[in-house]
């Protein structure tokens, strides 16, 4: 490849002039093309977290139950009985815009590998999705592809997709968000890490062959490639979930032996980041012979192999005396297995190809002198609290509209394309509870899993929005009776070089940190996705939170479906906060005001009270009050249980549609007891009404049949996507 390495090329590779200068200093000479490639990907925003690291460091990451916080492939928490939950969330936003099916599919594949690389069997997938305006044909095409892609990959690998969330907003028109989360289970004494060790130990490549998939586009677009440019153009990564399934089984089989010293998936920047990180973390050198890399295409250069993002590959350091045991396992699973190098004591990464040294870089400076930016921040101005808004619609008409609007309508059309029962451990399915409940095979213990974020709050007030996202995840887990343990996050923001955007990021982290601390809900893993904007139009700031909780006995979990003969009790204080509410947007046509404040002390007190009532067996159903407010929460409970409810008279639109935080609706046979105990605990609570019948009787006396409500609630997605009445 006849390209001169110079500042212009470095710029094409995404390195600034300063960064390139630093490369020259480290190398003491002009780097080779492959070396420049390695620097550029290792110092990219994606791999180096250069804009976000200073803020991420401030997140609370510790608790007695945290085994591994951020810094490993995934977070690890102790869930009791000698087991650990391993989980993380990761974005695949840009690829999903280019090719929605494959982008989403490979997103799922990538996050699965982050989890099983640590020795955990994946037991659940979730996702957090944001799409543009449903009126656009392009949005429809993206929704279709993303949903098919998530299902296509997850269903095939045999991991149930048990939860997620979807929002629509024009801010995502040119930049949808696809965040995928995987949860796995491991023996807590058998967690596999990526730090390489043992000079001379073999470095082994397993999985699929390497092709030219996803290689950094900038260089490839240049004219130097001549007439074979078409052939060499970087290609979209295509996932092979069948190979991933084999890789899961083969890796877990090998992990039951003592062969593995270190293991790391090949994610973004494939062979480069996996080899650099493994050697770097272990403080050793590494030498690779690329001739031994299994290749799908002919004539690949060292540069291409080091930067390829072919999927379904892993890198391992093995004990030399176990190499043949390992080979036999991978051959049984019909996967490639190749020794491609060994560890050295040089502290350098040396890449050889066809008898040439293509790269020779000292690892310490590559990591330690990676750029780190304290980018300027600008605070989002506080919005004034919304003044009184006249209710011209009435409670009933508003409910009909809200229950059918894209952001609140049933997601059944989506989850019915995801296999959520596989594994036989799904205790609460999508649409049944505020968090999915997945039991641990052969035990009574279960996990509660959820993903949450309300981007419109974050835009209006990033600090409140950051806290709210964490609090909502905590609340959703609590509403099932489970004890929230830890979160993973996916920070999706626009261009960090703009102070306003960096300010959103910083403030969100502040809000998240406060909530994590107040709720004992630390961050154990996460991902940052920046530059989410198209033609200068930024996305809504979206710090998506993936929460995990534990329940000792799965049988204690409650869902939100009503049954007849119960009383409804509201827990938490209601002021009638309409600022940034869905009612304001969908009914009054306004997106404004300060978002509802999050009182973390009240949040904790209310949640601990609710969990206590659930675990004492006094609650038949429980739902947190979120998007859409109280009346929407009750309507969702009625539909989920196919049981009507009669609400007590009184209250205005602000009362019934305000989105005040920290609230739950409980259905119970013992309302008096719940109210008395709430009062004793200093928790606001009041009787809302009672359950039964096939009608929802509203506080103004209006009634809506469940059949009508269901029709409205179920209509939007099937009609929009498949032209099918539900």
């Amino acid at each position: 490849m006849a390209r001169d390495v110079n500042q212009a090329l470095a710029r094409e590779f995404g390195l600034s002039a300063d960064e390139y200068q630093r490369v020259l200093e480290i190398m003491g000479r002009t780097p080779s093309l492959t070396e420049l490639g390695i620097f550029s990907v290792m110092w990219s925003e994606h791999c180096s977290y250069k804009s976000s690291r200073v803020w991420l460091k401030t997140l609370p990451t510790k608790a007695p139950w945290v085994i591994h916080g951020p810094g490993e492939n995934a977070g690890v928490v102790d869930i009791g009985e000698g087991l650990a939950a391993v989980f993380k969330m990761e974005s695949h936003n840009h690829p999903s815009f280019i090719e929605p099916y494959q982008g989403a599919a490979t997103g799922v594949g990538g996050i699965l590998r982050d989890v099983f690389t640590m020795g955990a069997r994946p037991i659940a997938n979730l996702n957090a999705l944001r799409f543009g305006d449903p009126k656009l044909a392009r949005t429809k095409r993206i929704v279709d592809g993303v949903v098919r892609g998530i299902g296509g990959y997850g269903n095939c690998v045999g991991v149930p997709t048990v939860g997620g969330e979807i929002n629509f907003h024009p801010a995502y028109n040119g930049n949808p968000l696809v965040n995928a989360m995987t949860v796995g289970i491991a023996d807590k004494t058998k967690i596999f890490l990526s730090a390489a060790a043992g000079i001379g130990n073999p470095v082994v490549y397993v999985g699929s062959k390497t092709g030219r998939d996803g290689i950094h586009g900038a260089t490839m677009a240049s004219a130097e490639f001549g007439k074979d440019a078409e052939e060499k153009r970087p290609t979209v990564q295509v996932g092979d979930p069948f190979v991933e399934k084999l890789l899961i089984e083969a890796c877990l089989e090998l992990m039951a032996t003592d062969a593995i010293v270190a293991i790391q998936d090949m994610g973004a920047a494939g062979l480069t980041s996996s080899s650099v990180e493994m050697a770097g973390k272990g403080g050793v050198g590494i030498e690779l012979e690329l001739d031994h890399v299994p290749q799908r295409e002919t004539g690949m250069s060292a540069y291409e192999m080091m930067l390829s993002e072919s999927q379904e590959r892993m890198l391992m350091v093995l004990r030399p005396d176990r190499q043949e045991v390992a080979r036999a396992i991978f051959e049984k699973w019909e996967l490639d297995f190749a020794v491609i190098g060994h560890l050295t004591e040089t502290g350098r990464i040396v890449i050889k190809h066809k008898g040439q040294v293509e790269a020779d870089i000292p690892l310490d400076p590559l990591a330690e002198q990676a750029p780190l930016y304290h980018r300027p921040t600008e605070e989002t101005p506080k919005q004034a609290r919304l003044g009184p808004v006249a209710d011209t619609a009435g409670l009933g008409p508003a409910l009909r509209t809200l229950m059918g609007c894209p952001d609140l309508c049933s997601r059944r059309w989506v989850w019915e394309q995801y296999d959520y029962t596989i594994g036989g451990q799904t205790v609460k399915r999508p649409g049944a509870a505020d968090a999915a409940i997945v039991k641990l095979e052969g035990r009574t213990r279960a996990l509660a899993l959820t993903t949450d974020c309300t981007p419109r709050y974050v835009l209006a007030d990033p600090e409140v929005g950051g806290a709210q996202a964490v609090a909502e995840a905590w609340r959703n887990i609590t509403a099932t009776g489970a004890l929230p343990l830890a979160i993973t996050d996916n920070m999706n923001f626009a261009n960090p070089e703009k102070p306003r955007i960096m300010g959103q990021f910083a403030a969100s982290i502040r809000g998240m940190s406060a909530a994590c601390t107040a709720l004992d809900f630390p961050v154990v893993s996460g991902n940052v996705s920046l530059y989410n904007e198209t033609e200068g139009r930024p996305i809504l700031p979206t710090p998506a939170i993936g929460g995990l909780g534990v329940l000792e006995d799965a049988a204690q979990a409650v869902g939100y479906g009503l049954t007849p003969g119960l009383s409804l009790v509201l827990v938490g204080a209601t002021e009638g906060w309409l600022g940034q509410s869905l009612w304001l947007r969908e009914i009054a046509g306004r997106e404004e005001g300060a978002p509802p404040p999050v009182d973390l002390a009240a949040e904790r007190r209310n949640g601990d009270f609710v969990r206590g009532e659930i675990l004492a067996g006094r609650v038949a159903a429980c739902h947190d009050v979120a998007d859409g407010g109280l009346l929407v929460a009750v309507a969702e409970m009625a539909l989920a249980g196919d049981t009507g409810a009669t609400l007590e008279r009184g209250g205005d639109a602000a009362y019934w549609y305000g989105e005040d935080q920290g609230r739950y609706v409980l259905a119970t046979t013992d309302a008096a007891g719940v109210l008395a105990r709430a009062q004793a605990a200093g928790v606001p609570a009041r009787l809302l009404g009672s359950t039964g019948g096939a009608l929802l009787t509203l506080p103004d006396g209006d009634t809506i049949s469940l059949a009508e409500l269901r029709r409205l609630h179920e209509a939007f997605l099937p009609a929009w996507m498949d032209g099918r009445a539900s």
Partner: protein
């Protein structure tokens, strides 16, 4: 007329299906099986009677719907 649109993954794009079929064929004892690529074929009956116009219409269909040109290439043949 009938337009036959053949859609294949572009060169260099991973073809998991082709790969699995190739392995299965070898497993069945077929010798000398090299690369296998799997694609789609869509036959569209057209009212159009002018071959050139039918060709143009089918190409338009392929670009708009039948092929995903991010990862796939296509070929159109017109039969009487």
């Amino acid at each position: 007329m009938k337009a036959v649109v053949t859609v294949m993954l572009k060169n260099g794009v991973l073809d998991p299906q082709g790969k699995a079929i190739g392995q299965a064929l070898s497993g069945l004892g077929f010798d000398g099986v090299g690369e296998v690529r799997a694609g789609k074929v869509i036959e569209v009956e057209l009212a159009e009677t002018d071959p050139a116009k039918a060709q143009a219409a089918a190409e338009e269909m392929a670009r708009k719907l039948l092929a995903n040109t991010v990862i796939e290439s296509f070929k159109v043949e017109i039969a009487a």
